[in-house]
């Protein structure tokens, strides 16, 4: 029985989750120190991301020609959005198929920037086409046409989707 009493001590020791003390040891300080350095590099890269984003906007989408199209869902909508297509002056400029995560993010109030591009000043034709499934499980398609005026500054357009309607919100 004695050897098995040792066995039970071994069993109890298995209950404790710990980093084993074999070979090269890893200390808490080492883990913490490295973690802090990882945090620092994340911060540095975040800074680069922010500057690059601004550089990209300035270079590729100057404010005088920039147009950005955002997509949101009307609050409380439960229909399943499958895809959205945006056409600007008759040309398809953005198409998106939604994953479950993306749809959930939209349903919770997130807003997706579906398109950023450049257009001349003046009136433009914007067409939005969506495919989805209603709450009852029926497939549906819907499209809507809008006139969008582009002025000197960047033009921001919000397209608000519901199972019954596609609405352009002026910003």
């Amino acid at each position: 029985m004695n050897c098995w009493q040792k066995g039970i001590i071994l069993w109890i020791s298995v209950l404790v989750l710990s980093v084993s003390a074999y070979g090269e040891k890893i200390s808490r300080e080492q883990i913490k120190g490295l973690d802090e350095q990882v945090q620092e590099i994340k911060s540095d890269v975040m800074g680069i991301a922010s500057e690059l984003k601004q550089l990209e906007e300035k270079l590729l989408y100057p404010s005088s020609t920039q147009v950005a199209v955002f997509v949101s869902l009307v609050s409380g909508e439960t229909f399943r959005l499958d895809s959205v297509e945006v056409r600007l002056d008759g040309k398809p400029v953005a198409q998106h198929l939604y994953t479950f995560k993306e749809l959930e993010a939209l349903q919770k109030g997130g807003v997706q920037r579906i398109y950023t591009g450049n257009v001349r000043s003046g009136e433009h034709d914007l067409e939005v086409f969506m495919i989805g499934k209603s709450g009852g499980g029926t497939d549906f398609e819907k499209s809507e046409r809008f006139r969008v005026n582009k002025d000197i500054g960047p033009r921001i357009v919000e397209i608000s989707l519901a199972s019954q309607s596609i609405v352009l919100n002026e910003r």
Partner: protein
């Protein structure tokens, strides 16, 4: 995988309740803020922080930030960026962001919520004293939605600081708190035991072990309470009590293997080996890499031996030996695979990231270690943090790589723009300057006419509105008159009369038509103004386009050079940190596998001796049987 998930969740829950998921404001005024939320709601923390950070920076850089749409959400945005940073394990920055909110001019509930979050960061970063100093600063109104969480955190901080009695008081008040079922009573039980109130603590662990719930996490904490209490009772040789408590652990939960093993021992220590065989026999059919299963492989033949079924015991010891041999080979192979770098390479494989069962998939890849042996390690906080850091670093590495290519593309675009615009611009500028001088001249003329018409409203000047013909005729008359009088003689009477008549007609027309002419002139001026406005628009559009043409390729060189340097430096840092973090992960994994290997070797030795002993006994039994016959 489910087991790993539950273990992880329990760990996080018992350590500290995680941050709340981001929520969008009821009425979203700023689309860019909504975009940051869109990424945060998908757990894309890097993009969420980068976007929100940029927005906040632009907002604070405005002369009149109150006119910016982000102004409506500024408090939430400041909070959210801290939360996102926390979720992205940037605790230092998150702490700074939240401290900024606390020190800002905010209302009491907002400030208190910020302190709560700061305290949670300290607690998560294993700084219980700082966490306590933080929660001590909370006073006045606390938002109702965080009240229970705050109290629970307070209790955990007190426990971490060894102030169990105070923690007990708080936890007692939280027994009915929604969303904390099981966790409060479990923690209360632990606090009481640590405070020396063993019987009461056990009662709470016992009641936690009997909670009724359908929630997977609550059920897991219930199992954990039963396992903890059962182990204590087993240590104290209260085998009957231990058996009862351990039998409450679900057969499918993350703690079931350990509970089955313990339950078997509880029977075995009472000498009831037949009953001990029931849980152990269930256990040996499970995943062979589990430590409890491996121990049960020895325990089952041991029980048969005790029941004098020596031949069966010998066969089972032999089978255990075979298994242990195979597992030892697997462990050696796994350690080698880790040392050769296959583990790290497999961890960052793209297809695994898309799969929730990635740990299970990982073991199926060629040359990767047996991840079942690493499940417990993978559920530990240190390994998880290190692994997440490693994956984050890999993510940063790929981003930096992409950005470097982006910069190449940007330079290409700039080069093309320069090549297109530069030769065109001098000629365009020349033409523009010519047009510009014409335009200025005409504008001056227009201004002069405008001023003159304005003056004529006060002092009428019909002569200003004479037509071109009238002016020519008037000049011709004057010329004729001058010619006639050139010799110093007077103009002959009849001719003089005719001249006067013509002058009179002219004068008559100019004066009688003055009002009509004035109105018409004014209308023409208005038409001209419209034309001038149009011209000015075109002028401005041209100037803007001209500027845009230059700006499309000028002024980027320094920025791009700087970015390139920053990216290169960051890449070097990321590579170095990845190597160090990777080495740490490998060491942790190798240590874990080595520990399991040594334990298995120990089992193998025991099994060898036991096999020999069992065979001897079986042979002796057979000899005795034959002798009896």
């Amino acid at each position: 995988m489910k087991r790993l998930f539950v273990l992880l969740t329990i760990f996080i829950f018992t350590a500290s309740r995680g941050g709340a998921a981001p929520s969008a404001p009821e009425e979203l005024k700023d689309l860019y803020f909504g975009e940051a939320l869109y990424y945060a709601l998908q757990g894309e923390w890097f993009d969420a922080i980068a976007r929100l950070d940029t927005e906040l920076m632009l907002h604070h850089g405005l002369d009149e930030p109150e006119r910016d749409t982000l102004h409506y959400h500024i408090n939430q945005a400041e909070f959210d960026v801290g939360d996102f940073e926390l979720a992205y394990r940037m605790h230092q920055r998150a702490g700074r962001a939240i401290t900024a909110v606390i020190e800002g001019n905010v209302e009491e509930p907002v400030r208190n919520e910020a302190i709560f979050r700061l305290a949670r960061i300290y607690f998560q970063k294993d700084q219980p004293l700082n966490a306590w100093y933080a929660v001590e600063r909370i006073s006045g109104t606390v938002p109702p939605e965080i009240r229970d969480d705050l109290d629970f955190l307070r209790a955990q901080i007190l426990m971490a600081n060894g102030r169990y009695a105070e923690a007990e008081d708080i936890l007692r008040g939280l027994q009915d708190a929604k969303g904390l079922e099981g966790f409060t009573s479990y923690n209360l039980g632990i606090a009481l035991i640590k405070d020396g109130k063993e019987p009461e603590g056990r009662r709470h662990l016992d009641s936690t072990g009997q909670i009724k719930s359908n929630d997977a996490i609550t059920l897991a904490i219930r199992d954990k309470a039963n396992l903890a209490l059962g182990s204590k009772l087993l240590e104290e040789k209260n085998y009957e009590g231990a058996k009862q408590v351990l039998d409450r652990v679900r057969l499918s939960g993350p703690f079931s293997n350990r509970a089955l093993l313990g339950s078997g021992w509880a029977h075995a220590f009472q000498g009831d080996f037949e009953r001990a065989l029931v849980p152990w026999s269930t256990l040996v059919t499970r995943e062979v890499t589990d430590a409890s299963v491996q121990e049960a492989m020895l325990a089952v033949p041991y029980a048969y031996g005790k029941l004098n079924v020596n031949s069966r015991a010998a066969v089972l010891y032999g089978s255990a030996l075979e298994h242990f041999g195979r597992e030892l080979d697997k462990l050696d192979e796994s350690i080698r695979s880790i040392r050769e770098g296959h583990f790290l390479r497999a961890l960052v494989r793209e297809e695994l990231k898309q799969d929730a069962d990635w740990v299970v998939k990982l073991r199926k890849l060629p040359q990767t270690p047996e991840t079942y042996y690493l499940l417990d390690l993978m559920a530990s906080h240190d390994f998880q943090e290190s692994l997440k850091n490693y994956l984050d670093l890999e993510h940063l590495r790929t981003r930096l790589e992409t950005w470097e290519r982006d910069l190449d593309a940007f330079e290409g675009i700039i080069g093309q723009r320069r090549a297109y615009y530069q030769p065109l611009l001098p000629d365009i500028d020349r033409q523009f300057r010519r047009l510009d001088s014409h335009m200025r001249l005409r504008l001056e003329q227009r201004d002069r006419i405008g001023q003159r018409l304005k003056a004529m409203l006060v002092v009428p000047r019909p002569d200003y509105l004479a037509t071109a013909d009238e002016r020519i005729i008037s000049e011709q008359i004057a010329l004729l008159e001058g010619t006639l009088m050139s010799g110093g003689t007077a103009v002959p009477g009849e001719i003089g009369d005719r001249i006067n008549r013509m002058r009179g007609v002219l004068h008559w027309n100019i004066y009688t038509e003055y009002d009509r002419r004035f109105t018409e002139t004014y209308k023409h001026l208005l038409d001209l103004n419209r034309e001038v406005e149009q011209l000015k628009k075109q002028y401005t559009a041209f100037v803007r386009t001209r500027q845009a043409a230059t700006q499309s390729y000028e002024g980027y060189d320094d920025v791009i050079r700087r970015q390139r340097l920053l990216i290169r430096k960051s890449r070097e840092n990321v590579d170095e940190l990845m190597a160090r973090q990777g080495h740490m992960l490998e060491t942790m994994a190798v240590n874990e596998l080595t520990a399991r290997r040594e334990r298995l070797t120990e089992f193998q030795i025991k099994a060898r001796f036991a096999t020999a002993e069992s065979y001897d006994r079986a042979v002796r039994d057979q000899s005795e049987e034959r002798a009896d016959k």
